[in-house]
Symmetry: C2
Subunit: 232 residues, 2 copies
């Protein structure tokens, strides 16, 4: 415990004077006042990166979906529910940050219309609820930030259940960001360990399996290195 | 803390020799390996009832959906994800229990087909994912248990955002159970306080606003009283 505090304290201050904005956790898209669509992201990887960045001297703002995690020391936290809430929180802050790390597992879709009252299972005859949910596409937070006139250094995450590197490469091009960090989502959600693969314009680099804080510190060092030549 | 332990210890043993089976929390219905439909139930009310029943001397089995709560002392816990998992856990245990308390906010519907791999947002041209989710009805756990040849005393919960007593009465008749406990779901999800209304064949009784453990103890006393004349 004490050792851990000392280790935290003596992390190299590679992000001193830098501002980092990070999203973490799932989003929750309301179907009605009770139900919603979410995903199995625990937020642990994002919270570990927020912590590692704060240890490295950065001014960190963490925009978190609904998770059950304590705020890392020295980190400013903003809690949100839906993807649109998250974009509303992130957008006004993005331009004044040096780095934007999008670890949140943002819902791609939301119910097209959230009901004001709980949808009844047994509706009266003639008004039966069709068991079918119309969806609308959510804003793409990472692509929106990356398309700003003077974007921060954008780092995306790809959680995939298969073909990780292929999907990460495609995602990097589609979102037009310098770095995508791939992880095998379903295998790591909620776990304390992870394996990451960093995909940039030059190729891939795998960070070998470790606890999320160790990986977060490696990623922070990588980001600090990239900042020295950003914008190119 | 110590006082609380003493208070717990000296609760009247009104359920001594009785077996109580209880469900709590939300269920999680997978859309694909990453996404799912869930609801905002925290499980706190159900966990409080499990604790109060154990304090009252009952042998308690708690079947819990995905929640972030510690298991109350002396309670046997079975963790499940989906409504069908929950039914699978509950069904073989129901007949050997004296009481079944269904506090879980069980999903009424699940995606008709859970995808084996993460559904891609940007599918290749010609195979675009239609933003639309086909749903299938979940089993009704409470009604299934209540319809057993020799059912335990069944207690249902109704979380409604409006017309609470009306909905609770209808639910009691539809599920054919002696007691439905109504609460204003969206207003109480995740809260430590609650207001309950007990709806049975004779009418309603409101338990005034209190912390969930206090309400749970009142409910346990009410259930113990009903057991003395059950089966009628």
């Amino acid at each position: 415990q004490l050792l851990e505090l000392v280790v935290s304290h003596f992390q190299p201050k590679v992000l001193a004077g830098r501002k980092l904005l990070i999203t973490a956790g799932p989003t929750y898209e309301a179907i009605d006042p009770v139900r919603g669509i979410t995903n199995r992201s625990s937020g642990k990887m994002g919270f570990a990166i927020a912590r590692a960045a704060a240890e490295a001297g950065a001014d960190v703002t963490l925009v978190a979906g609904p998770v059950h995690l304590p705020t890392p020391q020295g980190v400013r936290r903003i809690d949100v529910m839906s993807a649109r809430d998250m974009l509303d929180a992130v957008l006004p802050l993005a331009a004044s940050n040096d780095v934007f790390v999008a670890t949140a597992a943002v819902a791609d879709w939301r119910p097209a219309q959230a009901a004001d009252h709980k949808i009844k299972k047994n509706a009266a005859p003639g008004e039966a609820q069709v068991p079918h949910l119309a969806l609308a596409e959510n804003p793409d937070i990472l692509a929106t930030i990356a398309a700003l006139p003077h974007p921060p250094l954008c780092v995306g995450f790809a959680a995939e259940s298969q073909d990780l590197v292929k999907h990460a490469r495609e995602k990097r091009q589609r979102k037009n960001v310098p770095l995508i960090v791939g992880n095998l989502g379903p295998a790591t959600f909620g776990q304390d360990d992870n394996t990451l693969v960093l995909v940039d314009a030059r190729g891939e680099r795998e960070l070998s399996r470790a606890d999320k804080l160790t990986l977060a510190r490696e990623l922070v060092r990588d980001i600090a290195q990239r900042l020295t030549t950003y914008p190119a």
